[in-house]
């Protein structure tokens, strides 16, 4: 990557990582692999250590209920398919969801007759609570899937209220915290969620290839991925106990060493939330002042901003930002195609910041868009 690149694509994958993260991955690759669930008291269990550090961020009390896997898509598939939904069941979700939810639901609809009802968002990408409430009681869903935050606009949903409504309607609740964990805690048990899916490579600052699913002790999922676990090998089925129940195959040990290093680093270097919120506000104001059409959610939001330039396609603006200005950002549908009619636009450009984004980089991005607007 060009050393002068301005990286504003943190909602896809955060970069840079704290220096300890690549160091931990490299060290893990050069050391003897772990014991894969067979270790004793003196054996270090990387996965167990990661689970324990995730507990306060997820707001859960039993680390063994956190299954670790490749990414949030793995986790969401484990949750959605693990629910054993069948013909006639209905899933209630929102138009803000990512394809990692939309595509499994489409598959279930096509193959199994499971229906989905989508709740609209407002013009800034936040799910409509009153519509959600009505749909929950009208349709009596078996499962409600709620993104904690739109990956397109950064609007954070009121997952506490949506979870309360879902439970009152008799549904299980799956929260997609891909865009929030590491930036906003989930408080899963406090809000009575049943499952929380997350990824390690965004605001948790870990490597790609890490993610997980927390499952309430009150819910038993069918394993979606079945195979070896290193233990109970004389049994023909997956072990009943969590997390092994959902963790078939050898884990991505080097990357989880990286995630552990990131979690420890973040614990020692708490996120300056106000500073990052100020930066995204500054970016939004700067873009508005020069005539960009900015989607600005009110209230709680992640450090993400979507915008368009009047009279120029997002594709052309993206081309100019990347090729002419070395700004790494994302444009198009952001893998969340259903949200765009609700936002009233065809597609957007997205800048997404991290704690490492500097004021100079924000000013540079605004200046680049100003040049493009002309």
């Amino acid at each position: 990557m060009n050393k002068n690149t301005v990286y504003l694509n943190n909602a896809a994958t955060s970069w840079p990582k704290p220096a300890c993260v690549p160091e931990a991955v490299a060290r893990a690759l050069s050391e003897r692999p772990g014991a894969m669930h067979r270790g004793g008291i003196e054996d270090f269990d990387i996965f167990d250590s990661v689970r324990r550090l995730l507990m306060p961020l997820l707001g859960v009390s039993n680390h063994n209920q956190i299954a670790l896997g490749f990414n949030a898509t793995w986790a969401l598939n484990a949750a959605i398919f693990g629910m054993k939904l069948s013909k006639g069941d209905l899933v209630l979700t929102t138009n803000a969801e990512h394809n990692s939810i939309l595509r499994p639901l489409h598959y279930l609809e096509q193959r199994c007759g499971v229906k989905t009802h989508f709740v609209h968002t407002n013009k800034s990408g936040r799910a409509d609570l009153s519509e959600f409430n009505k749909a929950a009681f009208d349709y009596k869903p078996k499962l409600c899937i709620i993104t904690h935050s739109s990956n397109v606009t950064g609007a954070v949903n009121d997952i506490a209220e949506m979870s309360r409504i879902s439970k009152a309607a008799g549904a299980a609740v799956l929260i997609d915290a891909s865009q929030t964990l590491g930036y906003i805690n989930v408080c899963a048990e406090e809000i009575s969620a049943d499952m929380v899916a997350f990824t390690g490579h965004k605001y948790l600052l870990g490597p790609q290839g890490t993610g997980g699913l927390w499952v309430s002790e009150n819910l038993k999922l069918e394993p979606h991925l079945i195979g070896g676990t290193g233990v109970n090998s004389d049994m023909p089925t997956m072990p009943d106990e969590m997390p092994l129940h959902l963790e078939a195959g050898t884990g991505n040990e080097p990357s989880f060493y990286g995630l552990l290093a990131a979690l420890k680093w973040a614990g020692e270097n708490p996120l300056p939330k106000t500073g990052l919120a100020d930066k995204i506000d500054k970016l939004a104001e700067g873009l508005k002042e020069i005539g960009a059409l900015v989607i600005s959610p009110s209230g709680l939001k992640t450090p993400v901003i979507s915008f368009n330039v009047p009279g120029v396609s997002a594709d052309d603006v993206g081309f100019m930002l990347s090729d002419s200005y070395d700004i790494v950002c994302r444009w198009g549908l952001h893998c969340a195609p259903r949200i765009f009619p609700d936002l009233g636009v065809m597609q957007t450009l997205r800048f997404s910041l991290s704690r490492f984004t500097t004021d100079d980089e924000i000013n540079y991005a605004i200046s680049a868009v100003r040049d493009i607007i002309g």
Binding site: S324, G332, L333, C335, G374
Partner: protein, 93 residues
Amino acid sequence: MRFEVKKTNNCFSDAETYEYKLPIDGDAFLALLPPNFSSRKNLKLRRPVFFSESETIRIRGMLAFDIIRVSFPSASLIDEKEKLEAWLGDVIV
């Protein structure tokens, strides 16, 4: 081989965009384009760019670099791509 080609992808399944690495820069390429293309340059950017369009093909690139991006209509991709590549083969030596 006078040029290299690679398909690029974006969010849209019907997008047919290909990158061509040429032995000349964008400015020289622009001068070779036939009159059925309308072109404009944006010289105000950090690295100036150009956009060119015919009735069926859209081309963009940077004036000082040797890679252009060509978007073809999905309905007539093969014909249009073959025509462009034949033309490129004729004019770029």
